[in-house]
């Protein structure tokens, strides 16, 4: 682009004068032998240049100067503005018209080019502005959404921490009040041994519950950060299910457990502890959300293309189709549209999120289907067999998640 000074119109006129003068001087050096046609072409070149660079005003000035110089120096009689030969009149007029036309035309082309350039710049500017505002609005939206998510998560975590804390605090203050009463004169301790034991049991159990909650948070954070380490070893799906059922036994005592494992399922190289936790979570949920005495059906079958499919089915109220994907989101339970009055408060809202994290880390997937009966939920997960060679598996990592 031109430096600023060159763009001033006055500079254009100066350049027109200088250009024509320079051309005249250079041509004069060749003497009077030079052909008028060459002179005319040289002047036209200067006019063209001036017109392109500075537009029509300086181009007209250059044209007039050129005409005068052409007449004065190149058309006989030389060094006068008179023209003797009518032949030369024609040359003079043709030169004049050509000079002015060329000047105007090239100036117009330049103006058009400038206008086109300006229009292009304007379009670009608008485009960037639009893009910028789009970006800003989507950023604001994302920020707002993440703020909302954060505060919902915080609410959920706060609630889940406070619930066991409430029981602990109530038990501990009951014990303390009893202790203070027994320290005072003439006061008899009010709690009997059984009562003191129960208060201590509650404190103990709720402390464990807090610990499990914090453990769950840690696992989730690891899954989120992609830092879950699988401790893979060869095992069978029977063993994994047996492990999970043993752990879930206290919670499933009032349910009828039906286990159906297809024979000849291949051995799998997986993190058995992690996967038994997945089964445990599903069985525990089934027991929690279905009436006592109802059956919980666990099945393991070969799935499509070298996979094993495990399903856990209950006869509870089931899960509505529109939230079937969302139940795997962390804290989904507690976030159900903020309607605290309708919240099922058992569970941490982390179990299924962790289960999905574990299954996906094994290269498998987990989902929900409507149960085969008229009511109930059916959770399924699918694991690739021979998964030790799969991408994403990390055989070097042997730390337990």
């Amino acid at each position: 682009m031109w430096p600023k000074l060159f763009n001033k119109p006055l500079f254009g006129y100066g350049a027109a004068i200088t250009g024509i003068a320079a051309a005249t001087i250079i041509l004069k050096l060749f003497g009077e032998r030079i052909n008028p046609t060459t002179v005319a072409l040289a002047f036209l070149l200067v006019i063209l240049f001036v017109a392109t660079a500075w537009g029509s005003g300086p181009a007209v000035a250059a044209s007039f100067l050129g005409v005068i110089c052409f007449n004065f120096f190149s058309l006989p009689p030389f060094r006068t503005l008179a023209i003797r030969d009518p032949h030369n009149w024609i040359a003079f007029v043709v030169f004049m018209i050509t000079a002015i036309t060329v000047g105007q035309l090239s100036a117009r082309v330049k103006r058009r080019a400038e206008e086109a350039e300006a229009a292009k710049r304007e379009v670009e500017r608008l485009y960037y502005q639009l893009q910028d505002s789009f970006e800003r609005s989507s950023q604001a939206k994302a920020l707002k959404q993440s703020e909302r998510l954060k505060s919902a998560l915080l609410d959920a975590v706060t609630h889940d921490l406070r619930t066991p804390l409430t029981s602990i605090k109530a038990s501990a203050t009951t014990l303390l009040a009893d202790l203070y009463a027994s320290e005072r004169d003439n006061a008899v301790p009010q709690l009997d041994a059984e009562g003191r034991k129960e208060m201590l049991q509650v404190i103990d159990e709720e402390a464990d519950r807090l610990d499990r909650f914090v453990e769950g948070l840690t696992k989730l954070a690891r899954i989120d950060a992609g830092e879950m380490h699988l401790h893979r070893q060869w095992t069978s799906i029977d063993e994994i299910i047996a492990l999970a059922l043993k752990r879930a036994e206290p919670r499933t005592r009032s349910h009828r457990m039906e286990v159906w494992i297809k024979e000849e399922l291949p051995a799998i190289k997986v993190d058995d502890q992690a996967l038994s936790e997945v089964v445990y979570t599903l069985v525990d949920n089934a027991a929690k959300y279905s009436p006592p005495g109802s059956p919980i059906r666990i099945a393991a079958t070969p799935g499509e293309s070298e996979t094993i499919m495990v399903s856990v089915e209950d006869t509870g109220p089931g899960i509505q189709a529109d939230v079937r994907d969302r139940v795997f989101e962390k804290f989904f339970r507690a976030m159900r549209d903020g309607d605290v009055g309708d919240r099922k408060s058992s569970g941490t809202g982390m179990g299924l999120a962790i289960a999905r994290g574990i299954v996906e880390a094994h290269g498998g997937k987990i989902w929900i289907e409507a149960a085969e009966g008229q009511a109930g939920a059916k959770f399924l997960f699918q694991l690739p067999t021979g998964s030790d060679e799969r991408p994403g598996a990390n055989p070097a990592a042997n730390k337990r998640m």
């Binding site: 203050t173 709690l191 605290v340 408060s345």
Partner: protein
């Protein structure tokens, strides 16, 4: 010890109801537990309790609805258990008919003190009676006169109305909204600054130290509580 007074505990958290059942019965109350509002209402019909303690967030029927339904059939004192920080829910519960609230986690002493206060609260005065008395205070509704330790308090008519309303609900947490509605009428229920001014004036007349009140207590974000003792 007010032996054998019945308390109905409503919470869906079994560990907490376990503690409350043990602790309250050790303190001489007869305790029953319900896991949700619906079961609580059923229990209350067959077993009219002297006091109901309820959680707010429960499956089936929550605490708010339970307060409303209980109020429709009974004047039983209700203490609401709520997670700290949920001021909006507390106000809703109090407006729905709860008398008091305790924030989780709570110390058992605090809950027991609130229970004693709620049970001590006299049933609504006989509409024919025109003398109200509590602690040092005495209000003559006919003569439109309030005295403290025998001394005339010289209340303005609005201050008098406010005092009477506080008096009739002594010990109970009154939300800004319910106080404004009761004394100024329904159009003024959002004008909490009116209330602040009148409470301030009333405190100047009855409190020994108005900046550190002992009779009209502030419940931050919620309202006020009148404690005549």
């Amino acid at each position: 010890m007010e032996a054998n007074q019945r308390i109905l505990v409503v919470d869906d958290e079994p560990q907490l109801t376990r503690v409350l059942r043990r602790s309250l019965s050790t303190n001489g109350y007869d305790v029953r537990v319900a896991g949700d509002g619906e079961f609580a209402l059923q229990t209350f019909r067959d077993w009219p309790a002297a006091l109901v303690i309820t959680d707010l967030a429960m499956p089936n029927m929550g605490g708010l609805e339970l307060c409303r339904r209980l109020r429709a059939i009974s004047e039983v004192p209700i203490i609401v258990l709520s997670v700290r920080g949920e001021e909006k829910t507390k106000v809703e519960a109090l407006d729905a008919g709860a008398d008091d609230y305790v924030s989780k986690p709570f110390g058992m002493d605090e809950l027991l003190a609130r229970i004693r206060a709620a049970l001590r609260r006299k049933p609504p005065a006989d509409p024919g009676a025109h003398i109200l008395e509590a602690g040092e205070f005495r209000i003559d509704l006919e003569a439109h006169m309030a005295t403290q330790s025998g001394k005339d308090l010289r209340l303005t008519p609005k201050e008098f109305d406010l005092m009477v309303h506080l008096f009739k609900n002594a010990g109970k947490v009154l939300t800004h909204r319910s106080l404004l509605g009761a004394v100024w009428g329904g159009d003024f229920t959002e004008q909490t600054e009116y209330l602040r001014v009148f409470i301030g004036q009333l405190r100047k007349k009855i409190e020994p130290d108005p900046s550190n009140p002992r009779y009209i207590l502030t419940e931050p974000w919620i309202g006020y509580r009148f404690n005549p003792e």
